[in-house]
């Protein structure tokens, strides 16, 4: 154990001891912060989700997460089952189904535009949309939030499934501003076509997947079940 050189160095054990000590203190701090904020964060996420769902389905009072799978609808607990599509069932005060909300995403001008749409099982149509996240140009792309004429497209957007229950009877399509003729068409905003199309494409993609899985089993979620999560 003789020192071959005379250069003064800190022994490795001291370095390791220091790092271990610092890492331990930091670990305790992080775990403390995680434990301390966990409930507040979970509550925040829940409120954000509820607010978004209530906005597209006015009159709803509670929200439950479900997964629509090829074998039926099941409450979403933990991981998403194979081939499943996530959706939210919203209920009114009495516990009757108010509508269904699901997320749609389409590539916009700057980044992916994510919207939440509300679906009414009675008319088989979309009754409202809300933007979850987007980075479109302020003043141009963000008209999808404010443009009243554009939002009217989503007051009764037809998303009926076909007779075989395999896809939508009519694909949701974005058409040039002022040329909407059918209930399944979306009238684009003049000057914000890219963003309008992103919304339309996203909704079409999501509805094509979700509706054929949801509609045959819609009775399963007609009433709010239990009081658990």
């Amino acid at each position: 154990m003789s020192e071959p050189t005379t250069i003064q160095t800190t022994p490795g054990s001291k370095m390791i001891a220091t790092m271990v000590l610092v890492a331990t203190v930091c670990g305790v701090l992080i775990v403390g912060a995680f434990e301390g904020t966990q409930d507040a964060i979970a509550a925040n996420k829940r409120i954000t989700l509820e607010r978004a769902v209530f906005k597209v389905l006015p009159g709803a009072a509670s929200v439950r997460e479900y997964a629509a799978t090829p074998t039926g609808i099941q409450p979403l607990t933990g991981a998403m089952p194979e081939g499943g599509v996530k959706f939210y069932a919203a209920y009114d005060q009495a516990g009757a189904l108010k509508g269904v909300a699901a997320e749609a995403a389409g590539k916009g001008y700057a980044d992916v535009v994510r919207v939440l749409y509300g679906y009414d099982a009675k008319c088989q149509c979309i009754v409202g949309i809300g933007v979850v996240a987007m980075r479109e140009t302020p003043g141009i792309g963000d008209k999808i939030i404010t443009d009243k004429a554009f939002l009217q497209n989503f007051e009764a957007l037809d998303v009926r499934v076909n007779a075989e229950m395999t896809a939508l009877a009519n694909a949701v399509k974005v058409v040039k501003h002022g040329s909407k003729q059918n209930a399944w068409e979306i009238d684009a905003i003049a000057g914000a076509t890219v963003t309008s199309k992103a919304v339309g494409r996203g909704i079409n993609e999501s509805a094509q997947k979700l509706m054929p899985l949801l509609v045959p089993h819609i009775e399963d979620v007609k009433r709010e079940k239990g009081n658990g999560k």
């Binding site: 370095m15 220091t18 610092v22 507040a40 302020p138």
Partner: protein, 215 residues
């Protein structure tokens, strides 16, 4: 020993003011430009980012200063990074608990406080050589200086680009927002304007005090 005592006495008004005026991180040192340009689209975002950075700065400088005599110099940078990363994680959780909307607006820039050179720079250049109280006072000054810098940019961009300040509409219906100001290029324009103003002021002050220009 004598040097240590000298440092202990060294808390002056300048220890605090250094970061606000003489060595302002945004306007003088031009450090931490990544969050400065990216999150200052509104005064609220700028303020939150500034406060989050200040918290990390002050807490890590305190801890670094407390253990400055124990940490072997070979592993000091690694130690500082672990400490800074810890406080950034704390801030990350805290902001999520306070407001998810704010968390999404600030995006990845909260986590990126870890690599903000102002913080590591302070830890290495100041906190590792000075007693805790002095380090904290200095770090607080730096943090406030950074917050003021961000707020100056955020407020200017929000007023020009959206006609609002802290979300409150300032002008009437006729106001046409100058949209480019809230887009990325606007960040550079506004930063350039503030840097120009700041150096003019500094040069003028130096000329008055020293009787000659500031190179």
């Amino acid at each position: 020993m004598s040097t240590n005592q000298k440092l202990d006495e060294g808390i002056t008004f300048d220890t605090f003011m250094e970061g606000i005026w003489r060595q302002n991180p945004v306007f003088v040192m031009v450090l931490g430009m990544c969050p400065t340009l990216a999150v200052t689209v509104s005064a609220e975002n700028a303020m939150s980012m500034g406060l989050a950075t200040t918290f990390v700065l002050v807490s890590s400088c305190l801890l670094v200063s407390l253990i400055r005599n124990v940490v072997p110099k070979e592993v000091r940078i690694a130690t500082y990074i672990v400490i800074i990363a810890t406080f950034v994680t704390l801030v990350d959780y805290l902001i999520q608990a306070v407001s998810l909307k704010l968390y999404e607006a600030l995006g990845a820039f909260i986590q990126l406080i870890v690599v903000n050179c102002i913080i590591l720079g302070r830890a290495e250049a100041h906190a590792s050589k000075n007693p805790p109280l002095k380090s904290v006072v200095n770090a607080l000054g730096m943090g406030i200086g950074f917050t003021i810098g961000l707020l100056a940019l955020g407020a200017t961009r929000e007023i020009l680009g959206a006609g609002k300040l802290f979300g409150i509409t300032l002008f009437g219906e006729q106001f046409q927002p100058w949209v480019v100001m809230v887009l990325p290029p606007g960040g550079f324009f506004v930063l350039g304007g503030w840097l120009l103003l700041f150096s003019l002021l500094r040069n003028r002050k130096a000329a008055i005090e020293g009787g000659h220009g500031h190179e």
